[in-house]
């Protein structure tokens, strides 16, 4: 992905074949990465599922409301969570929090302004709060599971997530207001 790419979803909504093909090439890796993280061995099936959903929602993407890559990540995350719930696949093994570093290099981080804002906020949070948010967002862990895994009170887990996401949201909102 390059920095100045124009969104493709509006063109896909008009039935533009070239845009659709470009969309697959541009975002295939991104969607694959998300699916791999949340779906494991079903990742390829999930990718097909997500792309179909993206095409169906293409006309509803509003570029004044946010970047295309964030929209894609939202659609993908929702779909992946739905799939997991439909299959009622919950992790049977206890959560083992692992360190996951912010992506300081790589195409997603480089090209997504929202990701940079989120990374900036996350870096400023205490380690334990970062870990709670990572488990919630990246591992789809429930509040209860996180509380158990990290030996934290449930209320603390909830407030860590709430306040952390509020800060990310505020940073993104502030940024978009500044840009407009």
């Amino acid at each position: 992905m390059t920095q100045e790419q124009k969104p493709l979803l509006p063109r896909i909504a008009l039935g533009d074949e070239l845009a659709t093909r470009t969309f697959i090439k541009r975002y295939g890796g991104l969607v694959m990465s998300l699916a791999r993280r949340h779906s494991g061995e079903d990742a390829e099936d999930a990718v097909q599922d997500i792309f179909l959903e993206l095409w169906r929602l293409a006309a509803r993407y509003d570029e004044t409301q946010g970047s295309e890559v964030t929209f894609i990540a939202m659609v993908a995350r929702r779909r992946l969570i739905d799939r997991r719930r439909a299959k009622q696949r919950r992790p049977t093994e206890p959560l083992e929090p692992h360190e996951e570093s912010l992506t300081s290099s790589g195409s997603v981080y480089e090209t997504s302004h929202d990701a940079k804002q989120a990374a900036r906020v996350m870096e400023q949070l205490p380690q334990i709060q970062q870990q709670v948010i990572r488990l919630s967002v990246l591992e789809d862990a429930s509040h209860g599971e996180i509380a158990e895994a990290l030996s934290l009170p449930l209320g603390t887990v909830k407030s860590y997530i709430r306040r952390g996401l509020d800060l990310v949201r505020a940073a993104m909102s502030h940024d978009s207001k500044g840009a407009s």
């Binding site: 659709t20 097909q48 169906r56 929602l57 996951e100 912010l102 989120a118 967002v137």
Partner: protein
Amino acid sequence: MKQSDSAEAEFTDDERAEAAVELAYLKEERLPQALEARLWGDAQAFLGAQKNGRNIASTTASTTLMIEDAPAQPSRKSTRWATYSWAMAAAALFAIGGSRLLSGNGIRASGSQALTPSATFSTIDRSSTFTLTNEILGTNDAPICLAGCDIGLIEAGQFVKLAQLPPGVKSVKVEASVASTLQMHSNKQHLVIRATGSTSDIALERR
């Protein structure tokens, strides 16, 4: 953030923040070429449906699917029929892109590819899931989707659970794992069911 006025497409500010956090930790992978090809097949099906003004999500409430065994030798008139009848819209086969197959009462399917058993099959039982995708085989072919089962509307690309096997069918067998991708096409007057993989076979086993 509200991306649309549709409940389906509406996203919350929390979802947007979570997506940004997710992206911040994401290391992008390469898309496998085979998957890219499948996505392109899906895309063509989608665009075809869109061009024809059809909604890929549309379906019928109840459809009877008839599957015809392909004779081992074409000269033999050994047509056998297995009738699929999903009650209460438990499963519905529907067509997009102008398929002629969707009559609401019966869809005939045949082809040696579709119903040739193989020793490498593993059984998909009532609780198994598999994926259905669209693909356009040729200019005269229209993509189709399989819908239904106990979790509501199923579209191409989604997992399908055979909560209710058709009468007379003991099990559905498919090559490789249950996660195999099945591709279903309308091939002129016939329905072709294929599993991606080395041999692309699916079989129905009768009681």
